[in-house]
Amino acid sequence: MTEFTPLASLVGGMLIGLSAVLLMALHGRIAGMTGILSGLVAPIAPDWSWRLAFLAGAVAAPALITGLGRYTIPFQTNLPTPWLVIGGLIVGIGVHFGSGCPSGHGVCGIARLSRRSFVATAVFMASTAVTVFVVRHLLGGLS
């Protein structure tokens, strides 16, 4: 179980949107994590510096929020390490061929009314829902 958090999720979502608008206004780039990260995988993109800075900021913020000790960020997973490795490989391969993930397609692409992003988002949402159903209700979890 996780708590239903409409307000925190709405505010957090708006910050994700603000970040996308900032990155477009300042660097003219789509704030898609797949695209940003891919430029740091060999062959490394010539414009690696802003990519690394964006990732550093994205990692530093939750560390600062929890480090200051006033706020805890819920994080729950009981997935065994082999499944994290397998899942990570599947996600990496999928987002590369699919040209994006929830941040790039689901937020930036849909906001641009991109046909590819609408379709990609519908496909990966459906695929995720089916996978969660199979894993949780047919297989009874992964061990």
């Binding site: 957090g12 979502g13 949107g17 510096s49 599947i90 969660v132």
Partner: protein
Amino acid sequence: MRIVAALLAGAVFGTGIAISGMINPAKVQNFFDFAGTWDPSLAFVMGGALLVTFIGYRLVLKRPAPVFDTSFHLPAKQDLDLPLLAGAATFGIGWGITGFCPGGSIPALGLAEPGALVFVASMTCGIAVARLARGWLQPSPAT
């Protein structure tokens, strides 16, 4: 200055991911678990992010260029091809298994969660493998 700007945009992204609950794999999986412990919070994340990005992009893209670049870098591709569909479907399998997407997992590194580190390392390998595979699948045109 342009690096500081990217760092700031990344920090806003990481804060949004943390506050919204996208950083929590269990919460992400619960959003898709209609037959079980459904948590609709992530609809609010998507709604908030799209609202801000949709309006913000329209204001920003009216300008001739971003602050730190000579032009906006927007994907030009329009066609719905097999890699997009198969990649998105594949990504969904990994997202469903783990509850981690690229944008959720990278900020989770800031929580010093070992699971996030394993996932991000594996996902990065997945992207690298996919890049190599795409090189083999699409041999460069004969010169």
